[in-house]
């Protein structure tokens, strides 16, 4: 979804205001229902509300890609604080400081790509809203939420590869990348795991999860054969805040 900008909100509010003025004028003045009044009502009940509905829908959908929107539920407070804190060094925080991600960092990283990616992402978002208001997440405290709420499905490395291409020399020159290529492409090893670039949101990962991720990477490395001499040290690991 392209970033629509604030002007769509202005269009929506302006159209709604014009329509409301026509309708309130009709309700107060109570004119005869002649052709002129019918045409005015057609504008007030049809044309301007349609413009308001269309522009508010686009503006609303665009707003759902903002980080503030994702952080508006209290269970996402820790993620939001982490992403917006300029001193944090987690993957999420560092990507959020990148102008390409900017205010839309949650959406850019978590959106599904592909033909129906936008619709599928919005469908997933509706699931989050359902879980929050009707699934009991709203009643959880933040520490409880961090233990209970996890990403719906394993994070797809394809999302990382949208920007970090795997075909250029910079990526291929890292020995671990080449050694684990098939595991990375099949999502058996995550780019954002403890043994590689670190978790994107490290604060919500328990010791067991960290250990499991490190074991998975080690196992994949072992099955991929002996890595070249310059191993993981070539990659900047995320520092846990």
């Amino acid at each position: 979804m392209p970033h629509a900008g604030p002007w769509l909100g202005v269009v929506a509010l302006g159209s709604a205001a014009i329509a409301a003025a026509i309708l309130i004028g009709f309700l107060l003045k109570k004119p005869l229902l002649d052709l002129r009044t019918k045409l005015a009502l057609f504008l007030g009940l049809g044309v301007f509300p349609a413009i308001a509905a269309a522009s508010s829908t686009v503006a609303g959908m665009e707003r759902t890609t903002h980080r503030e929107f994702c952080g508006s539920c209290h269970v996402m407070d820790a993620h939001y604080q982490d992403a917006t804190d300029p001193k944090r060094q987690s993957l999420a925080a560092r990507h959020s400081r990148n102008p390409f991600f900017g205010e839309h960092s949650c959406y850019v990283c978590h959106a599904d790509y592909g033909m129906y990616g936008y619709a599928m992402t919005k469908k997933g978002g509706m699931g989050h809203v359902y879980e929050y208001y009707l699934g009991g997440y709203m009643k959880l405290s933040l520490p409880e939420a961090l233990k209970v709420i996890h990403v719906h499905k394993p994070y797809d490395n394809l999302n990382c590869r949208q920007c970090h291409t795997t075909t250029l020399r910079g990526w291929r020159s890292v020995p671990d990348h080449e050694a684990l290529k098939s595991e990375l492409f099949s999502n058996k090893v995550s780019c954002a795991s403890a043994g590689c670039h670190g978790f994107a949101h490290p604060f919500d990962k328990g010791e067991k999860q960290t250990l499991d991720a490190a074991k998975a990477v080690a196992k994949a490395r072992a099955s991929a054969g002996p890595a070249p001499s310059a191993s993981a040290s070539a990659m900047p690991a995320a520092r846990t805040p």
Binding site: K30, A53, S56
Partner: protein
Amino acid sequence: MSLLQRVLGGSVTRLTRAACWLALTGLATMSYSIISPRPLPVIFAMSVGQGVGILAFLCYLLAVVIDVGRHPRGPSLPPGPIPQREADVAATEQSATPH
């Protein structure tokens, strides 16, 4: 008496006023979602708000249809002069008629 019969038998003005109130409700929800873009207002505006807006427009269309049905319009223009050919034919017929 069914709801449809009540609506059809009711006042066109009342139906139009109901459409106005419904539309104002829908517009208010849409505007609120712009002013306060949080999950519930946005979802509410895109579902209930737009549904109410569509219902309002349908009420207006129904009111117009009922109004047109009750007061069928006559010819919109006054009768003009008879075209020359028709006048000639009528005069010929009149002259041919035996007295």
